[in-house]
């Protein structure tokens, strides 16, 4: 054939309103190789694959597959072209059988009426499962399988297309170690047959175990492509995460006093294990770690959204029973969630309404709500946070990201919390607003409050935290003081390795 690459995507550009998802991305896969595609959430991996599958049309760029220039077509044609995909989210049709799911869209039919040849359908499925050594009955309904089995069926489906290229998006998210070994055996078989596999994952172990090459994307840009044998874990992480560190953080000296919050050995099934830390008044505790390490789960658990199965939480030295967010609020806690539009703001409502929601009891008057007091309080917040809005009646949807975030902060400040949990407080916010929010955080700890901040932004973590807890795959990998903390140390802990630097 003479072509070095089975697939080459050159200079792909994809713009969505408000975000450039793919910016001049190039990606090349050789036949008979396993090529890992890595990057943080939002880096563009899934978008790139969707462009390949024809779900999205790129604005610019050329794709060549199997020696021919590739024009995006509908999914049916792509499946026959020789590309199949295992999707990140399991999408089985629960009430249909395993066989029906696997062969959906290509059932063996008799004649032109579309009469399905069930005997052949079940036989073909049995043959496929036997060949892949998967022990599931073809006649079983998907709903009766375990999640792990469902994922194995999904994998079998993708392989059954006999494609030249199989895309696997987080194929091991729901399966156990035994099945992972089985999967790798299947992948090795594919590789021997000359099939190429694109393997999208966050799990570094798997990358080093199974892949031949790695491509890293970051913020929609192509960062680099290397042979797996040529790189180290650390290099990989810094490719995924590395940004230039700049030092404009308004960190001042703050009095750090007694312990406000103690978390001892908390665990939540499937999410995190044996997490312990404490936070002092006047302190900012940073929580660092890679995507999926469990940081958000931990603070949401302490806040009562999914209370831990085991462990203790102490506030001011006394055990605190927190079964739901209301309990947490009563103990003086506040939580700014990771995705403010999803779980924080009431977008069609006004600034004022958004601000008062956590604290509405305060405004109960004899004949309804005390709107005057509400206005006074909200106006005060607006001034002190320098919130840019035409008026308090403006609906929050119309504000910029930074100002929306300030509205949420104002909401929590009105509850006068002692402990504030901030999950990615400056994500998606312009530099100017970022600094304002940081300054605000300093003001808060100067008043004696305690802040726990989850952040994926290395400069923010290093610049703002007094201490840093690093998490790795649901466990606490380590803790660093401000003086001890460096980018490399955090990265090393986050990758699950012992500190060697």
């Amino acid at each position: 054939m003479g072509e070095e690459f089975l697939l080459s995507m050159e200079h792909i550009r994809k713009q969505f309103p408000g975000v450039l998802a793919l910016d001049d991305v190039s990606f090349r896969v050789r036949p008979g190789t396993v090529h890992a595609l890595m990057g943080e959430n939002g880096a563009g991996k899934s978008t790139l694959m969707k462009v390949l599958l024809g779900i999205y049309q790129p604005d610019e760029g050329v794709i060549r597959f199997d020696g021919k220039e590739y024009k995006q077509m509908d999914i049916r044609s792509i499946l026959t072209q020789g590309i199949s995909m295992i999707h990140q989210e399991l999408t089985p049709i629960l009430h249909m059988t395993v066989a029906e799911n696997i062969f959906l869209g290509r059932e063996p039919v008799r004649g032109r009426t579309g009469w399905v040849n069930h005997k052949e359908l079940y036989q073909k499925t049995q043959d496929l499962l036997d060949a892949l050594d998967i022990h599931v009955e073809p006649t079983v309904k998907m709903v009766e399988l375990s999640i792990a089995s469902m994922q194995m069926i999904e994998i079998a489906t993708a392989i059954s297309y006999n494609s030249k290229l199989v895309i696997m998006d987080e194929p091991t998210s729901a399966i156990t170690e035994k099945e992972v070994d089985h999967l790798f055996k299947m992948i090795n078989n594919l590789r021997d047959k000359g099939v190429a596999v694109i393997y999208i994952t966050h799990k570094m172990d798997e990358v080093f175990q199974i892949s031949d090459e790695v491509t890293v994307l970051r913020d929609g840009k192509f960062v680099g492509a290397e042979l797996t044998s040529d790189i180290t874990r650390l290099k990989l992480i810094s490719m995924m995460v590395g940004r230039e560190l700049t030092n404009f953080f308004p960190k001042e000296d703050v009095q750090i006093s007694e312990v406000k919050l103690e978390v001892r050995d908390i665990s939540l099934e499937g999410k995190f294990r044996n997490i312990s830390f404490d936070v002092h008044k006047g302190e900012i505790l940073g929580i660092a770690g890679l995507m999926g390490s469990g940081r958000t789960e931990v603070i949401e658990s302490v806040f009562g959204i999914h209370p831990p199965d085991a462990g203790e939480i102490l506030v001011d030295g006394k055990p605190a029973k927190i079964r739901q967010p209301m309990d947490a609020i009563k103990h003086g806690m506040g939580l700014l969630t990771e995705n403010r539009t999803l779980s924080g703001l009431f977008l069609p409502l006004s600034v004022r309404d958004n601000m008062v929601y956590s604290n509405i009891d305060k405004y109960k008057g004899r004949f309804g709500l005390n709107f005057k007091q509400m206005d006074v309080d909200c106006e005060h917040q607006r001034k002190s946070l320098e919130l840019k809005t035409p008026s308090l009646a403006e609906i929050v949807l119309n504000l910029s990201g930074g100002n929306q975030q300030k509205v949420l902060i104002a909401r929590w400040l009105l509850t006068e919390p002692d402990i504030l949990f901030l999950d990615e407080p400056t994500r998606g916010i312009d530099v100017g607003a970022k600094t304002e929010i940081h300054r605000l955080m300093i003001k808060l700890v100067q008043m004696g409050k305690a802040i726990v901040m989850v952040s994926s932004e290395m400069p923010e973590i290093l610049g703002m935290s007094d201490r840093i807890v690093v998490m790795h795959e649901g466990e606490k990998a380590g803790e660093l003081t401000r003086e001890q903390a460096t980018q490399e140390r955090i990265l090393q802990l986050a990758a699950g390795e012992a500190l060697t630097i």
Partner: protein, 350 residues
């Protein structure tokens, strides 16, 4: 886990629940009841009524004439319900059958007028064609314009009703030809003096058998289940979702046309006010028969049993002299009851 998706993902968060906990399969008695429960309920009802209507040593309910009556009365709704089953299983809903029955019934009546002398096949084809067309329009609006099925078919419902009144100026169309009337009023005789099968019953049975085969044995049927079970998965597997929807609604319309022929020939006229609330009865039949309003679950067999349960209940209460107002209340209770039972069964799976 809060996966903050900043890029446009085709996925939706419904699948998260599936990724978290595996639904537990059902075993033993519960599974048996789940599959055949509705049939057992039906048998139970029949036995009860057979017993309660015993008069002079004979059960009035079980008399051949009575059973045939019940079957004939359930034919029109039953035919519509078969079509509606497809639509609901595919994840949609159809509120238009009642009005479309009236509209196509009127058209059939017009074509079947004695004065025109057209062969009876003409009104039949006309009704089926227009019914299919109405269904196709429903399907097209729903798939291409992305209008929720509830709204689209609600619109069709009112429009079809209006068309019916427009054509007839509010008056019934009658004086229909004999051969056409035979379809709704005639029967096949034989095997003894008192044995006869009304044509509507034959038509109902045929429609049910064909629908069953379509839904369970053909690709069309599988895609219907796939659409309702997980539209996204179907799309990803290359199923042409838009076309499948159009086909499903067209089939529903086709059956509605057949039902209109049966109804019109039975009452000997095309009435603009015919078929009121028929869609609700049809949906109720499907739901009682185990069709889930969420889509992806349902069978023609179940729907037929559901239709018969309502018909038997009405008949039984009539025989027992219970006021017809009670029938309505009971029907409502049965509908709610069967959905509650179904929901409880589903919930225990999670």
């Amino acid at each position: 886990m809060s996966t903050a998706n900043t890029s446009r993902e085709v996925s939706n968060s419904n699948t998260d629940a599936g990724a978290q906990a595996a639904p537990r399969p059902q075993r033993g008695i519960k599974a048996f009841f789940g599959k055949y429960g509705i049939f057992l309920v039906f048998l139970g009802m029949c036995l009860l009524l057979a017993f309660l209507t015993i008069d002079n040593g004979q059960s009035i309910f079980l008399k051949f004439r009575n059973i045939v009556n019940v079957l004939r009365q359930s034919a029109v709704i039953g035919i519509i319900a078969c079509g509606v089953t497809f639509i609901i299983v595919s994840g949609g809903i159809d509120l238009s059958p009642g009005s479309v029955v009236a509209m196509t019934g009127i058209l059939a009546a017009v074509l079947a007028r004695e004065a025109y002398g057209l062969p009876f096949i003409v009104p039949v084809i006309g009704a089926v064609a227009v019914g299919s067309l109405a269904g196709a329009i429903n399907g097209t609006i729903i798939s291409k314009a992305r209008i929720p099925p509830f709204i689209a078919t609600l619109g069709m419902m009112t429009i079809a009703r209006g068309v019916g009144f427009l054509i007839t100026n509010g008056r019934p169309v009658d004086h229909l030809s004999e051969p056409f009337l035979f379809l709704g009023q005639g029967s096949i005789r034989g095997l003894g003096e008192n044995f006869f099968i009304p044509i509507p019953v034959l038509i109902f049975v045929s429609v049910a058998v064909v629908s069953h085969l379509l839904l369970s044995k053909t690709r069309f049927g599988k895609y219907t289940y796939a659409l309702g079970g997980n539209e996204q998965a179907a799309f990803i597997c290359g199923v042409n979702v838009d076309w499948q929807k159009i086909r499903v609604y067209t089939y529903g319309g086709l059956l509605t046309g057949i039902a209109a022929v049966v109804l019109t020939s039975r009452v000997s006229s095309g009435q603009p006010g015919a078929g009121m609330m028929y869609e609700l009865d049809a949906i109720a039949s499907a739901v009682i028969g185990g069709t889930s309003l969420h889509g992806g679950v349902g069978t023609i067999g179940g729907t037929v049993v559901g239709t018969l349960i309502i018909a038997v209940m009405n008949n039984g209460l009539d025989l027992l002299g219970v006021s017809s107002y009670w029938q309505r209340i009971l029907k409502g209770l049965i509908i709610i009851g069967s959905v509650v039972i179904d929901t409880l069964r589903q919930r225990r799976r999670r």
